[in-house]
C-alpha cells in the first residue's frame, strides 16, 4: 500500500487496526528488557546510589515530552500549509499524551531531586521551562475544547502550537545557557555520551519502549478522534433532518 493512501482516514483506520497489536507487543517486550537491564544488570551510580534507577523512566519521559510537542508542531505545519486531513487529528490526539509524559517527567524528577538535591523543586531554567511546556499542553487541550468546529479549532491550535515550539530549544539548552541544579546533557551531546555503557543501553531500550508506547497510544487516540468527527457529522445530518420518518435511512454529505 503506498504511504500516500494513509492520508485517507478510512484506510488509516484499517492500517491502525493491523499495526497496534504488533506495536503493543514490541512495547511490552522492550519495557521488559529495558527494566530488567535497569534493575538487575546496571550498577548503582557511584554518587547517586540506587536513585539512578529513576533515570530509566524520567529521561525517556523527558525526551518524549519534547518529541510529542515536536510531532504536534510538525502536524501544525500539515494543518496550516498542506491542510492534510489527518494533520489536525494527529495534533489533537497527541496533546493529552504529551501532557501525561510531561507530568511524569516533572513528578519523577521531583522524586529524584528530593533525595539528591535536598529539595522537591527549584525555579531554575530547566525545571521551569518544562513546567511551561506542561502548562502549554494544558492550554492547547483547553483551546481544543473551546472551539466546537474542529476545522476552525485546528487552525487556532496550530498557530499556538507553532508559537510554543520556541520553548523546545530553550528546554534543550537551558542547562548550558543558565546556571542550574539540573545536570547537563549526558547522552545526546557533542563528544558522545558521558554515561557508562552498562547504564546507557537499558536507558536507550526504555526510551525506545516509551517511544513505541507513544506511537501506539497516538494511533489509538487518532482512531478515536476520527470516530468523534464521524459522530459529529452524523449528528449534524440527523439534526438537519428533523422530520425524517423513523426507520427511514437518512443520508447526508460528509463534512
Amino acid at each position: 500500500m503506498p504511504l500516500i493512501d494513509l492520508a485517507n482516514p478510512t484506510r488509516f483506520l484499517g492500517f491502525v487496526g493491523r499495526l497496534v497489536p504488533w506495536l503493543t507487543a514490541v512495547t511490552i517486550v522492550l519495557f521488559a528488557v529495558g527494566l530488567y537491564g535497569a534493575f538487575f544488570l546496571a550498577p548503582d551510580d557511584y554518587q547517586q546510589g540506587a536513585t539512578v534507577k529513576i533515570m530509566f523512566i524520567h529521561v525517556p519521559c523527558a525526551w518524549l515530552s519534547m518529541f510529542v510537542y515536536a510531532t504536534m508542531a510538525a502536524s501544525s505545519l500539515g494543518t496550516l500549509v498542506w491542510r492534510h486531513p489527518l494533520a489536525d487529528v494527529s495534533m489533537k490526539a497527541a496533546a493529552p499524551i504529551g501532557a501525561v509524559f510531561t507530568f511524569v517527567c516533572l513528578a519523577t524528577g521531583s522524586l529524584w531531586g528530593k533525595p539528591m538535591w535536598g529539595t522537591w523543586w527549584v525555579w531554575d531554567a530547566r525545571l521551569t521551562s518544562v513546567l511551561v511546556l506542561f502548562i502549554m499542553y494544558l492550554g492547547l487541550i483547553a483551546l481544543w475544547q473551546t472551539i466546537e468546529d474542529p476545522i476552525r479549532g485546528a487552525k487556532a491550535v496550530a498557530v499556538l502550537t507553532l508559537v510554543g515550539a520556541i520553548n523546545l530549544p530553550i528546554i534543550k539548552f537551558s542547562v548550558d545557557w543558565w546556571n542550574t541544579l539540573h545536570q547537563p546533557a549526558a547522552v545526546f551531546r557533542l563528544g558522545g555520551p558521558t554515561i557508562d555503557i552498562s547504564m546507557l543501553w537499558p536507558l536507550l531500550v526504555t526510551a525506545l519502549a516509551a517511544t513505541c508506547l507513544f506511537v501506539t497510544l497516538q494511533l489509538l487516540a487518532m482512531k478515536n478522534e476520527i470516530k468523534r468527527r464521524r459522530l459529529r457529522t452524523l449528528r449534524l445530518i440527523e439534526a438537519s433532518r428533523p422530520h425524517a420518518v423513523a426507520g427511514t435511512p437518512v443520508v447526508g454529505a460528509a463534512s
Partner: protein
Amino acid sequence: MMLPSLGPHAGFILAAYAVFLVAVIGVVVWIVLDGRQLSRQLAELEARGIRRRGSDKKPDAVP
C-alpha cells in the same frame, strides 16, 4: 529472582515507578474506554439509518 536492594531512598524510587505506572495505565484505560463509547454511539446512529453520503459504497470516504 530477587529485586536488588534499593538503598535508603527506596521509597522515592518506588514512588517514581508508581507514578509512571498509574499515568500509563490511566491514559491507556481512558483511550480504550473513549474508543468503545464512540463506537457504541456511532453504531446507535447507524442503526437508526443515519449514514454519511457514500459510506455504504466505497471505503475511502473522508470523515
